[in-house]
Amino acid sequence: VENVRLLDRLSSRKAVLGTLYLTATHVIFVENGSETRKETWVLHSQISSIEKQATTATGCPLLIRCKNFQVIQLVIPQERDCHDVYISLIRLARPVKYEELYCFSFNPKLDKEEREQGWKLVDLTEEYNRMGVPNNYWQICDVNRDYGVCDSYPTEVYVPKSATAHIIVGSSKFRSRRRFPALSYYCKDNNASICRSSQPLSGFSARCLEDEQMLQAIRKANPGSNFIYVVDTRPKLNAMANRAAGKGYENEDNYSNIKFQFIGIENIHVMRNSLQKMLEVCELKSPSMSDFLWGLENSGWLKHIKAIMDAGIFIAKAVAEEGVSVLVHCSDGWDRTAQVCSVASLLLDPYYRTMKGLMVLIEKDWVSFGHKFNHRYGNLDGDPKEISPVIDQFIECVWQLMEQFPCAFEFNERFLIHIQHHIYSCQFGHFLCNSQKERRELKIQERTYSLWAQLWKNRANYLNPLYRSDHGQTQGTLHPQIAPCNFLYKFWSGMYNRFEKGLHPRQSVTDYLMAVKEETQQLEEELEVLGERLANLQKSQLGDNKVQSKQQDRSKQLRLSTSNNSLANTPQEYSNDLKSFPSWSPSQGDEEDSALILTQDNLKSSDPDLSANSDQESGVEDLSCRSPSGGGCLPSEDSGKDSDEAVFLAG
């Protein structure tokens, strides 16, 4: 469709004219104008909702809201065309078959072996071994090898040594969805463990010997303690209500040596509504401070984040300080349980704070343990009541921790944002379906590519320059402040206002420090080489000049030209009185965002064309950072980092 206008959210005056394309996998908006041809790409999988607004004099507005919080506002001149686009997008954004998803057509041009290697990057058996199992207390259990016991669990789970197959099967029959207690994390220092399950089908008075034996087995697997905690992450009222439906929670009288604890985290419906309300606040036009803070509070979002974090802290404390094992469950054991177990693991074990470690953690507690990615994130068109930002909340917990402990994580914010993006993008096969079983049936690993391999390949972009593995913060357990601590939870504008560049600090400290670090390293290497050369020269008069000059050239290119940190940016609309001002909103969508969603087909250059926006008015100076040629000046503007995303998605 031609002559479509793309509006800017903050400044309705600033609109760009272009052409809208719909393909099998993307919506693409290409700006008119011979030089720029800036493109905005949106994957259909990312589309959360489409709203057709009332036709005005200028045309028919169409609002596309994405799962990665991008909001695209288009104005289509003809109502008829707008309607066509609307209907098409509705269909395209709601695939009914997996084969329609992008991951089955995405082709990063890797050969079969590379694809396989990619999937092998994260190996859970290796991870359990690293934790220290199997050992005297824990064994691998293959009773579920054909998914016969629990179809949402993986084929291999770890259980206490004293849990026989009979006990496991018996326990599984007494647990919602057959999700029996299994090992999530083992602390080899003190043998305490975190196990996870779903709620018992206890009703008001039902008992199950095998289930009670299962919990005893968990207790026995930790000789250092004579009881275990059983943590129900639901609010007490909800858990009690479940009893009327024949489910419920563990009765301390029936299960010997357990201490039972409720830690109330609300359910998926509450969370879905909470996010919705928060996004509405984000969409307010020119909100006052009051509108924003009240809106944020009313959404309850940060309160929920804190609840998840508090649960993780409780469990981490039980394991690390008290040396007591914990069994965690919610209702079905695949939402809140996953959140809480992963947060606790992150606090306990510094390995999970590395890049590889986080990938492993997600693979273990979310992917392998049957978190319902399809239902929760809408791979396919399904029940809207199943949709909920469960993993988004976990990812935000990680970010909140990164803000409190800036030196403790190997990765940076961009890593988290990209992971979140790809949970919804369906570009890679990881986050499809609802269980390991379904993924194997669809032969995901043979037909799609691994996200972890892709992220790993580009790990240089995801590093935290402040991380040092020998640093105090990176060792051992993290202890977030418990109280008072409300102020520690901040609104994550990097995620929820991700595409509004004008809102963020204009200069990326992370990128700058990474470049500094890199340059220091280069200089040190150069120094070494020069030192050797000097030594050689002193030995003989025949110095080899060729190598040295190459080194020098390279270092000249990378020399931090800090003068390039200066940037022009534009004023926001501070006033309506000064109508004469050509106030361009700082929040233009840059091509960097379309670069994020670039497929490798569309890659014109490894760097998106930033020179288009380098005039003073639009506020972004020409910065090319990290082009594969290794040269370029320093990124001092937020957009700079996103040029890496183009490379990243190139495959």
């Binding site: 030196c407 320059p465 640093h471 220091t520």
Partner: protein, 324 residues
């Protein structure tokens, strides 16, 4: 950019030829200027009844008046007190924290101050127009706006030395009554009438700028905290008294040491520098959207929140830059 106190037409709408001539002389032929009045239109009108007022259009035809009400005086002090209380309240649950933060209105004041300063800066930089800023007395919100606008506009004011010069010029010599305004701070029960944290509000705004432009200020948070401390209680005479006349009468220069002298000693100065600083010759336009304005934790939670991990992070940053 000019600053002054309010004009005094009074209830009888007096005129003053000299004042009109002065303002007329500022403008070039055919040029227009802006008057930014930091009181609401209504407050400015009411001021007329007690002898003050605004510049009437008829007498100052080439000046266009804009009202940007900024809080001052008792209400601002109350806002400060409420914020400090909210931060220190251990019983506050998460689902009430933001509401308490909001009802202190402190962040709204920060937003308003930044917006007004940006407006002044825009007039100068984008419109190329001259600006006159005044409130009532010309000693509080006026100085907030003019000083902040200069930090936004002028890279020289963002250097350590330049910033000190700005403070000396726009706050101390311009006659901000430090002695009255920075008397007891937030915990005192004596609610003094003249007390108001305008200077703190200014420092908070500067901190917001440093957060949004981490490379553009030569100094860091430590300097801002030190200035805050010294405005209230100091071993140095820099912030004493209410104006130059009083300082002269009290012989401040002869009997005390200057804070600036201490700060500029090499062994002290490096503590206040921003390791990420890289001179930015351009104007820095902050975003004043609510998401961009954050609570200055380093000040308001200074004694409540352990800063160890953040200090370590800064030490890392310092080291990375130094190694290079």
């Amino acid at each position: 950019m000019l600053r002054s106190g309010q004009p005094l037409p009074g209830p009888n709408r007096r005129r003053c030829r000299e004042d009109e001539a002065l303002l007329g002389a500022v403008l070039d032929q055919g040029e227009r200027g802006f008057v930014i009045d930091t009181r609401s239109a209504q407050a400015a009108k009411q001021a007329r009844m007690s002898g003050g007022g605004t510049e009437p259009k008829s007498s100052y035809p080439h000046w266009r008046r804009l009202h940007r009400p900024l809080e001052r005086g008792r209400p601002l002090q109350e806002s400060f007190v409420r914020l400090v209380e909210a931060c220190a309240d251990p019983s506050l649950s998460m689902d009430r924290w933001l509401g308490r933060l909001e009802s202190s209105r402190w962040l709204s004041h920060v937003k308003a101050a930044l917006s007004t300063a940006c407006l002044a800066a825009q007039c100068l930089d984008r419109e190329g127009a001259k600006v006159l800023v005044h409130g009532a007395e010309g000693t509080d919100t006026t100085l907030l706006v003019t000083a902040l606008a200069q930090v936004i506009l002028d890279p020289a004011c963002r250097t350590l030395v330049g910033f000190q010069g700005l403070l000396q010029r726009e706050w101390i010599e311009a006659g901000h009554p430090f002695h009255l305004r920075c008397a007891r701070s937030a915990y005192s029960h004596a609610r003094l009438k003249q007390e108001a944290p305008l200077f703190l509000l200014f420092l908070d705004c500067v901190w917001q700028l440093s957060r949004q432009f981490p490379f553009s200020l030569e100094f860091g948070e430590h300097l801002l905290l030190t200035l805050f401390d010294n405005a209230y209680a100091s071993a140095y005479g820099t912030f004493l008294c209410n104006n130059e006349k009083e300082r002269s009468l009290c012989k401040v220069k002869e009997s005390t040491h200057s804070l600036w002298a201490w700060l500029s000693q090499p062994e002290e100065q490096h503590k206040f520098l921003n390791p990420l600083y890289s001179p930015n010759a351009l104007v820095i336009w902050p975003s004043v959207e609510p998401q961009s304005i954050q609570l200055w934790q380093g000040l308001f939670l200074r004694w409540i929140r352990p800063s160890q991990h953040l200090d370590e992070a800064w030490a890392e940053i310092q080291q990375l830059v130094q190694e290079n």
